[in-house]
Symmetry: C2
Subunit: 333 residues, 2 copies
């Protein structure tokens, strides 16, 4: 079936922070997927014939929320509930939501299942515990006829998938090491993400990072020259690769460097998979991302690639919880 | 479902050259897949309780064919037909057959479909025209209830899949460049493969390469210090990526260096995917294979990873022609 033969997937993007905004912009360039709803914490914008992403994002940034989008926006105390109530209007839901608290993304997923949504869901979550909770909803998704693909961003996502591919050459995988570089010129556009990163640093946890004021975050970044070095992060690549049968989670490590003062990446993002072949030879495959690709491109691109793949799975009735290591994403035009 | 809960896939390997032999050896280390049949041009070995791969390969090399395998071997004028006649005894068939002539692999696939086989098939074919012919059998596979995954080796296969993954970061893919290094100490173990490689060189075509005697091949290799440099090869990565909607085939190039006198790779095998992101930035992702991994590991590992993935597709009734760029392989234990 050619793309031209089928109507575009009607997409709701939950979250209008850095990632959600980028997702909306990316969708405005696609013909196979169409942005019909965008949600932030105080409202939502919805048009069953497709939103004008730039108009919605402009209103959001000028006036303080997607609720102010001309004609399509509306304030709400429960904007996610507004989308659930319109479940039949969507073929795909992308959860570009904060990871914290850890039960937020799984809770939203469960709400869609309970609310009668029957379509595809993908997320760009990061944390192991969140991914595990989503994977445990497998039966719920099956009953609801939802195809949920967990961990569809960059890491977990693109790099998890690359690790699964690389593993195929080996009889036994010994280690998967993900080391990322992120450069963002303006951390204020990624307030939630930066706090999630800080939560991985020594002396912080999820709660204490979340309680930091913007001034405290700025001070912490000043002390470190704008760079956060993160090691042994709780990233869901481990649980996803373990669930896919590739490697024990203890053998997966994720870390990296976030530079909040330059859009240049401080290091190239890569995943190195080391294993032993069936002949007993030890070796490593490496997948390296080009430095010029942004976090937004590496997260939202795969997320929509998995969304398109999810549509095929939905067509053949393969409902339930899948992951970036069990589904091959499809290129979206 | 855990591997321990399900019976192993009963596998037939068609072809007992370098790749087929490696495939048989690899299977002897797996518990999720079991080698029940091995076929060469003059006979077959079959045991519905699993073959002893080493015993079969030893008999084949000592006495000139798998037909001489103790208890399990038998000569045949039509050894592939013997497997087709036992179609119900197999869950998976791996075609480790020569690519030449171009209709050989598609012809064997069609024979299995016509013969009542209902299972998974994967191949390690190389040539574009062969892959296209297999993809055209989609309806035949659907009717026969076969899941066929085309191009499941290294290239096409592992590297095609990596190219599809890498493409996800881009709005438009400009080029996919695969450059491989192969080191084989003993080219006589890969007689058919080497002739296929020679067919890609200036002054040769499929027919003239096939007609070369072993002495002529040895002489040609002597003239080149044992190294074959191959550019713009007819490799099916192009048709497979085009069929998956990633990129026009003209933008895909495959080449490399084959050293027939050293098991060390003359260059590292890699795929470089260059594209432009949704923000308009040009960049390249690179997937590089570790030099210590053999061609056998990089071909047969993915081929069986796709075989296992094919089993899932078969369970949910997703019959038809798939490819290494549309299915995510599963790690096999």
């Amino acid at each position: 079936m050619h793309a031209a033969d089928i109507s575009p997937m009607r997409i709701a993007v939950l979250g209008a922070g850095g990632l959600g905004s980028a997702a909306a912009r990316m969708l405005s360039q696609k013909r196979e997927l169409r942005l019909d709803a965008l949600v932030d914490s105080r409202g939502f914008a919805f048009d069953p014939d497709g939103l004008d992403a730039e108009a919605v994002l402009h209103a959001a940034s000028e006036r303080g929320g997607v609720a102010f989008a001309p004609k399509t926006g509306a304030p709400s105390d429960d904007p996610i509930g507004e989308i659930v109530r319109r479940a039949e209007a969507f073929d795909g839901v992308f959860l570009a939501l904060p990871n914290l608290p850890n039960d937020f993304v799984p809770g939203v997923a469960a709400r869609f299942a309970a609310g009668g949504y029957r379509g595809v869901m993908t997320d760009a979550l990061k944390r192991t515990s969140a991914a595990e909770r989503v994977l445990k909803l497998d039966e719920l998704f099956k009953t609801a006829e939802i195809v949920y693909i967990v961990g569809c961003g960059a890491t977990p996502g693109l790099l998890t998938a690359a690790a699964n591919l690389a593993a195929q050459s080996f009889a036994e995988v010994e280690s998967v090491r993900i080391w990322f570089g992120v450069g963002i010129q303006n951390w204020e556009a990624y307030r939630a993400t930066i706090r999630e990163d800080i939560a991985h640093m020594p002396g912080f946890d999820v709660e204490s990072a979340r309680r930091l004021t913007d001034e405290e975050v700025a001070e912490l970044l000043d002390e470190r020259g704008g760079k956060l070095i993160l090691e042994e992060m709780e990233h869901a690549d481990d649980a996803i690769l373990e669930a896919a049968g590739v490697v024990s989670r203890d053998c997966v490590s994720v870390g990296g460097v976030v530079d909040t003062r330059s859009s240049q990446k401080p290091v190239s993002t890569s995943v190195v998979v080391t294993g032993v072949t069936f002949e007993g030879r030890r070796s490593s495959h490496t997948f390296t991302l080009g430095d010029e690709t942004s976090m937004a491109a590496n997260v939202c691109g795969p997320a929509f690639g998995y969304m398109k793949a999810g549509r095929r799975l939905h067509e053949i009735g393969a409902y339930g919880a899948h992951s970036s290591a069990t589904v091959m994403p499809r290129f979206v035009r």
